[in-house]
C-alpha cells in the first residue's frame, strides 16, 4: 500500500495519526467530531485541512488501530463512528512516549538560545 499524503495543513502525517488516536480515547466519535475537537482543543492553532482527516482514519482502521461502525449522530443522521482498539491504545502509549522524548529533546536544543 503506498502511503499517499494529501496536503495535511501544517501537520505531519504521524502527528495527525497521534492526535486522532488521542482524541478517540475519549470514546467513539465520527470524523467531524474529531476535527472539531482537535481544532477547539488546540484553540484553532492546529488547523487541519478537514478532508485530510479521512485518509488518516481509514489508514488507522486498516492498520487495526481503529474499528468503525455506523451509528446515529446527535442530530439523528447516519454517521460512521470510529472506536479505538486495544492495539490502538497500545500504539497511542508508545507514540505518546516517543513524542515526549522528541519534544523534550527539541526543547533542550531550543531553550538555551
Amino acid at each position: 500500500m503506498q502511503e499517499q499524503r494529501p496536503s495535511s495543513g501544517e501537520l505531519l502525517q504521524g502527528t495527525l495519526d497521534m492526535l486522532v488516536l488521542k482524541t478517540l480515547i475519549r470514546g467513539p466519535m465520527h470524523g467531524y467530531a474529531v476535527v472539531e475537537f482537535i481544532q477547539q482543543t488546540s484553540e484553532d492553532v492546529l488547523r487541519v485541512e478537514e478532508g485530510a482527516l479521512y485518509p488518516a482514519l481509514h489508514r488507522l482502521e486498516l492498520r487495526g488501530l481503529l474499528t468503525s461502525e455506523w451509528g446515529v449522530s446527535e442530530n439523528n443522521r447516519r454517521a460512521k463512528y470510529y472506536r479505538l482498539t486495544a492495539a490502538g491504545r497500545r500504539h497511542l502509549v508508545d507514540e505518546t512516549a516517543r513524542w515526549r522524548r522528541m519534544s523534550a529533546a527539541i526543547g533542550r536544543i531550543m531553550e538555551p538560545a
Partner: protein
C-alpha cells in the same frame, strides 16, 4: 494481516463500500455547512465554505479508495470485466479469435495427453530412474534391439561394476485350462527369481520367487497378475498354495501382484520362474532374454552403456562365431516399456501440434491488429484522459487473455472428442500392450498444461498488437476521427510478417503431412498380391506337455487344416509359423553342403514352417522346381523351397539351385540334410520391409512347430467364417485356445498403426493450418481493400481498368504470401530431412509432395486474396468516393 482481510472483505462489497464512503464524507460536509449557517452564512455560502475547508474531495476519495483496494488483482479484475464488455460488443471478432485459439489449444492438448499417458508417464515402479533395461544391440543402429543370450547376460552379471542387481525374463504364452472355463491363452513372463526384488514390488498376496526356483524341476510356481486373479479366479483370496493347470502341468500359485503392476508389458498375466537346462544357460547363439538392473548410486545410464559396449567388444573377440556384430546397450526402462518409435512419433506430433498453436496465435494476433485499428479512437480517448501506456497495454493483453481462456475452454471440449477418437482407433489387441491407453484423458496435469498454453498464447497473440495500438500519436488519431487510414505503415508491416510466418509454418506442416502420407502409402501398399482382405488369420499355440511328440503336433495341424478347408465358403486353409505382418517371424542360420565356412558370411533366412499349399494360397509365384506338397511327409527326404533372394545371394551363377543341399544351424551343425526342391518369388513379410526377405520354407509335416498362424482364404467376408472355424478347431481339441483372430488386412494395419496415426494427425493439423492461414490472408486482404475503398474509387474514376486494380491488390496481398511460401519451402526441406531420418519409410526428397503442396498453398492463398479483391471491383463509384 488485518489489512489484507479487511481489503478482501470490501472487495466483495465494493458498491456498498463506495456508498458508505460517500455518506461519510457527505455527513461531514453537511455538519460543517450547518455549523457555518449557524454562524450567519447564507445557505449557498455555507456549502461553499464547507467544501473549501474540506479540501479536494476527489483526491480524498481517491486516497481512501486506493487504500482499500487489493492492488493489481483488482486492476486485473477491472480489466477483465472491461474486456468482456468490449468483446460482447464485437461478438463475431471474439468468436473467430477464440475459435482460432481453441483449434490450436485442442491440437496441442490432445497430443500432450497422448504423450503424457503413453510416453512420459513414470512407471508405477519404485525409483524408476535407477532402473535400466539391458538389451542386445547391433552397432550403428541405436533403435534396434534384440534379446540377449543367457551366457551373455551371465557375462554382464559377472563383469558389470555399475549394476547392483540384474534380473532377466523371457516372454512366452501359456494355455490355462481348468474345469468348465473356456481355454484361455495368457501372456506369460518367465523370470529369474530376483525379478520382483530388482523391480522393488512385492506381491499383494503370498510371496515372490525364492533363490533356487530357477532349477529345472523346482520351477512349477506361478505369480498371478491382479487382472487374471480377478477375471479367472474370482479374486479368491485363498488361492495362494492352490494348484492351477498351466500348459497341462500343475503349477502352485505362490503370489498375486498388486493391481498396477505390469512389467515388462501391460499385458502380462502371470510370471513363472525361468529355469534353464545347463546347455541353454551356456548358449551364446540363442538370443532369449531381456534384462533390467538397478544401478549403483552415483552412476549414470551413459556410464553403464559405455561399460556394456566395452564388454560387447571383448565378447566379440572371444567368441567371433556367435558374437560378431553383437553388442549390449542400456535403455531407460521407460523407453523399453513405451517403445522407441512411440516416443518418436509422439514427439513429432507434439511438434506439429505446437506449430498449429503458433499459427493460431499468429492468426489471433492478426485479428487483434485489425481490431486495434478499429479501436484507435478508443485508445486515443483513454490516453487523452490520462491512461498510461502500461495501463492500455495491460488492458488489451487482458482482453487477449480472456479470449485465450475462452478458447482453452472450447479447446478442452474439442480435445476430449479428439482423445476419444484416437482411442477408438486403436484396436483392443494393441491397447493391451500399454497400460497408458486406460489412463488416456484430461487429468490435472493436462489441464495445468492447457492453462499454461492458454495464458502463453493469450500473451503471445495480444502483446504485439497491444504495443502497437498503444503507440498512438494522440493528436493524429483524434483528428483522423478513428478512421482506418490512420494506421501507419509499421502496423501493416507487422501484420505482413505475421502472415508470412503463418504461411511458412503451414508449409512445413503440409509438407510433413504429405511426406508422411506418401511414406505410409508406400509401406501399406506392400505385397498387394497376397490379397490380405480375404484372408482370415488366427494363432494356435500348442502346449508342449500335451503335444509332446512331433507326430502329435503334425497330426493336430493336419486335422485342423482338413476340417477348416472343408467348411463352406473356405477356398483354402493353410498354416505358417509366421504370417506376413505377424510378430512371429524367426530367423535361422543354415549351412550349404559342400561349402567351407567363411568367417562373417553365415547364410541365414527367415525360417518358415508351412503347410503344403501355403505358397499357392498366398499367391507367391513359383520361379523354378516345384512347390512343397503333401507327399513331403515324415518318411520322405527332407525338402525345402527357397526364395529367389537366397538363390541369388548364395548361388549367384545358378538360376535354380534345385537339388542342392543345406542344413539348418550354424557352421559345424550336424542337423539333417535338406534338399532344395523349388525357388519362389520374394515376399515383404513386414510393412516395414523395403525389399523382400530371404525366406526358407519347410513343410510342417517334416518340421512340426508348436505355434502356428493359420490363414484361411475365404470366398466372401472372412470374418463370417470366425465362428465355424472356432467350432472346427474345438472339434479337434476342445481345450485349445484360439487367439488373434482377424483378417490379415487388419494385422497389416496394426503393424503400421503408429505411422497411420502420425500421417492422419499430421494431415488434420495440416488442414487446420491451411484453413487458419487462408483465414489470415483473407482477413488481411479484406482489411486492405476496405482501407483503400476511396483510392480504388479514385483510380477507377480516373479510368483505371478492373484488371489494373485487381493486379494492384494482388501485388499487395501476395507479398506476404510469397515471402511465406519461400521461407516455408526452405524450412520444409530441412524438416523433411529430419523426418526421413526419424521415420522409417518416409523419403525426404519426394518431388511430388514438394510440388503439390506449395501449389495447393499458393492456390488457396490466391483464392483468399481474390474474394475480397473482387468485392473491391464491385464497388459503386459514388459510394467509394464518398466513403471518407
Amino acid at each position: 494481516m488485518t489489512a489484507a482481510w479487511l481489503r478482501l472483505r470490501t472487495a466483495f462489497h465494493r458498491r456498498q463500500w463506495q456508498r458508505d464512503l460517500e455518506d461519510e464524507l457527505q455527513f461531514h460536509l453537511e455538519m460543517r455547512q450547518e455549523r457555518c449557517q449557524s454562524q450567519g452564512f447564507s445557505a449557498g455560502d455555507a456549502g461553499y465554505a464547507a467544501r473549501r475547508q474540506f479540501g479536494n474531495l476527489m483526491l480524498v476519495k481517491e486516497a481512501c479508495r486506493e487504500m482499500w483496494t487489493l492492488g493489481w488483482i483488482e486492476t486485473l479484475w477491472r480489466d477483465v470485466r472491461y474486456g468482456c464488455r468490449q468483446l460482447r460488443l464485437n461478438r463475431s471478432f471474439a468468436v473467430v479469435t477464440a475459435t482460432t485459439l481453441a483449434l490450436g489449444i485442442a491440437a496441442t492438448t490432445t497430443i500432450y495427453s497422448v504423450c503424457d499417458a503413453l510416453v512420459w508417464k513414470t512407471l508405477p515402479l519404485p525409483d524408476p530412474d535407477t532402473l535400466i533395461t539391458v538389451l542386445g544391440a547391433f552397432p550403428g543402429n541405436p533403435h534396434f534391439w534384440s534379446p540377449a543370450s543367457p551366457a551373455g547376460v551371465e557375462d554382464i552379471r559377472k563383469s558389470q561394476t555399475m549394476l547392483a542387481s540384474l534380473a532377466s525374463w523371457e516372454n512366452a504364452t501359456a494355455n490355462i485350462v481348468d474345469a468348465g472355463g473356456e481355454p484361455l491363452r495368457v501372456d506369460q513372463a518367465r523370470v529369474t527369481p530376483n525379478f520382483f526384488d530388482v523391480l522393488g514390488v512385492s506381491p499383494e498376496l503370498g510371496r515372490s520367487f525364492e533363490p533356487g526356483d530357477d532349477q529345472p524341476g523346482r520351477d512349477r510356481e506361478v505369480v498371478l497378475s491382479d487382472g487374471l486373479w480377478r477375471n479367472r479366479f474370482q479374486a479368491d483370496r485363498g488361492i495362494v498354495g492352490k494348484t492351477i493347470r498351466l500348459n497341462d502341468q500343475d503349477y502352485t500359485v505362490v503370489g498375486v501382484m498388486p493391481p498396477r503392476f505390469a512389467f515388462p508389458r501391460a499385458s502380462k498375466d502371470l510370471w513363472t520362474p525361468l529355469a534353464f537346462a545347463p546347455e541353454e544357460r551356456n548358449s551364446r547363439s540363442t538370443p532369449r532374454v531381456d534384462s533390467a538392473g538397478r544401478m549403483k548410486p552415483g552412476h549414470t545410464l551413459r556410464q553403464a552403456a559405455l561399460e556394456l559396449n566395452r564388454l560387447g567388444l571383448q565378447l566379440e573377440k572371444l567368441y567371433p562365431q556367435t558374437n560378431t556384430n553383437r553388442r549390449f546397450m542400456a535403455w531407460p526402462v521407460r523407453r523399453y516399456v513405451a517403445g522407441d518409435y512411440a516416443a518418436q512419433f509422439a514427439n513429432l506430433l507434439l511438434g506439429a501440434a505446437l506449430f498449429v498453436l503458433l499459427i493460431a496465435c499468429g492468426n489471433a494476433a492478426n485479428l487483434q491488429f485489425a481490431r486495434g485499428t478499429a479501436r484507435w479512437r478508443e485508445v486515443a480517448v483513454r490516453q487523452a484522459l490520462g491512461a498510461t501506456r502500461w495501463q492500455i497495454v495491460t488492458q488489451l493483453v487482458t482482453e487477449s487473455l480472456v479470449l485465450a481462456l475462452a478458447g482453452a475452454g472450447l479447446g478442452v471440449v474439442l480435445a476430449r472428442y479428439g482423445l476419444r477418437a484416437i482411442r477408438a482407433g486403436i484396436p483392443p489387441e494393441l491397447q493391451k500392450y500399454s497400460s497408458g491407453w486406460a489412463d488416456l484423458g484430461l487429468n490435472a496435469g493436462v489441464l495445468a498444461f492447457v492453462l499454461a498454453a492458454a495464458v502463453l498464447s493469450g500473451i503471445l497473440a495480444g502483446l504485439v498488437p497491444a504495443l502497437r495500438s498503444s503507440h498512438a500519436n494522440l493528436a493524429e488519431s483524434l483528428k483522423e476521427g478513428g478512421h482506418a487510414s490512420s494506421s501507419g505503415p509499421g502496423r501493416h508491416r507487422a501484420r505482413s510478417v505475421l502472415l508470412a510466418a503463418e504461411i511458412a509454418l503451414t508449409m512445413v506442416l503440409l509438407v510433413g503431412a504429405g511426406l508422411m502420407i506418401r511414406g505410409f502409402h508406400n509401406l501399406v501398399r506392400g505385397e498387394t498380391a497376397i490379397e490380405p482382405r480375404t484372408l482370415l488369420t488366427l494363432r494356435l499355440e500348442l502346449d508342449a506337455t500335451e503335444y509332446r511328440t512331433p507326430e502329435k503336433v503334425a497330426e493336430f495341424y493336419r486335422l485342423v487344416l482338413d476340417r477348416t478347408a472343408a467348411l463352406p465358403g473356405v477356398q483354402a486353409a493353410t498354416a505358417a509359423s509366421a504370417l506376413p505382418y505377424s510378430r512371429h517371424a524367426r530367423f535361422s542360420a543354415f549351412t550349404i553342403s559342400g561349402r567351407a565356412a567363411q568367417p562373417g558370411r553365415q547364410p541365414s533366412a527367415q525360417l518358415q514352417v508351412v503347410s503344403a499349399d501355403y505358397l499357392r494360397t498366398m499367391h507367391i509365384p513359383l520361379r523354378a522346381g516345384r512347390f512343397l506338397s503333401d507327399r513331403d511327409g515324415p518318411r520322405f527326404p527332407l525338402s525345402a523351397v527357397i526364395s529367389e533372394e537366397i538363390a541369388r545371394q548364395w548361388w549367384p551363377g545358378e538360376p535354380a539351385p534345385i537339388g542342392r543341399q543345406i542344413r539348418l544351424g550354424m557352421h559345424g551343425t550336424t542337423g539333417p540334410v535338406i534338399t532344395i526342391v523349388g525357388v519362389v518369388g520374394g515376399v515383404k513379410a513386414s510393412a516395414l520391409d523395403r525389399v523382400p526377405r530371404p525366406a526358407l520354407y519347410v513343410p510342417y509335416t517334416q518340421f512340426p512347430e508348436q505355434g502356428m498362424d493359420i490363414a484361411i482364404r475365404s470366398a466372401g467376408d472372412p470374418l463370417s467364417l470366425a465362428a465355424p472355424v472356432r467350432l472346427a478347431i474345438k472339434a479337434v481339441d476342445a481345450e485349445q485356445p484360439v487367439t488373434d483372430m482377424m483378417t490379415l488386412e487388419r494385422m497389416k494395419q496394426n503393424e503400421v498403426i503408429g505411422l497411420t496415426y502420425t500421417a492422419v494427425l499430421m494431415s488434420i493439423f495440416g488442414a487446420i493450418a491451411l484453413v487458419l492461414s487462408c483465414v489470415g490472408v483473407y482477413g488481411m486482404m479484406s482489411y486492405l481493400v476496405s482501407r483503400q475503398t476511396h483510392e480504388i474509387g479514385v483510380r477507377m474514376a480516373l479510368g483505371a481498368g478492373r484488371w489494373n486494380v485487381l493486379g494492384m491488390l494482388f501485388r499487395q496481398g501476395s507479398r506476404a504470401g510469397l515471402a511465406g511460401v519461400t521461407s516455408g519451402l526452405l524450412l520444409a526441406f530441412a524438416f523433411a530431412r529430419l523426418l526421413a531420418s526419424v521415420i522409417w519409410g518416409v523419403s525426404g526428397t519426394d518431388g511430388g509432395t514438394f510440388t503439390a503442396i506449395p501449389l495447393v498453398l499458393v492456390l488457396a492463398a490466391g483464392l483468399a486474396i481474390y474474394i475480397p479483391a473482387r468485392r473491391a471491383l464491385r464497388i459503386d463509384l459514388l459510394i467509394a468516393l464518398r466513403s471518407e
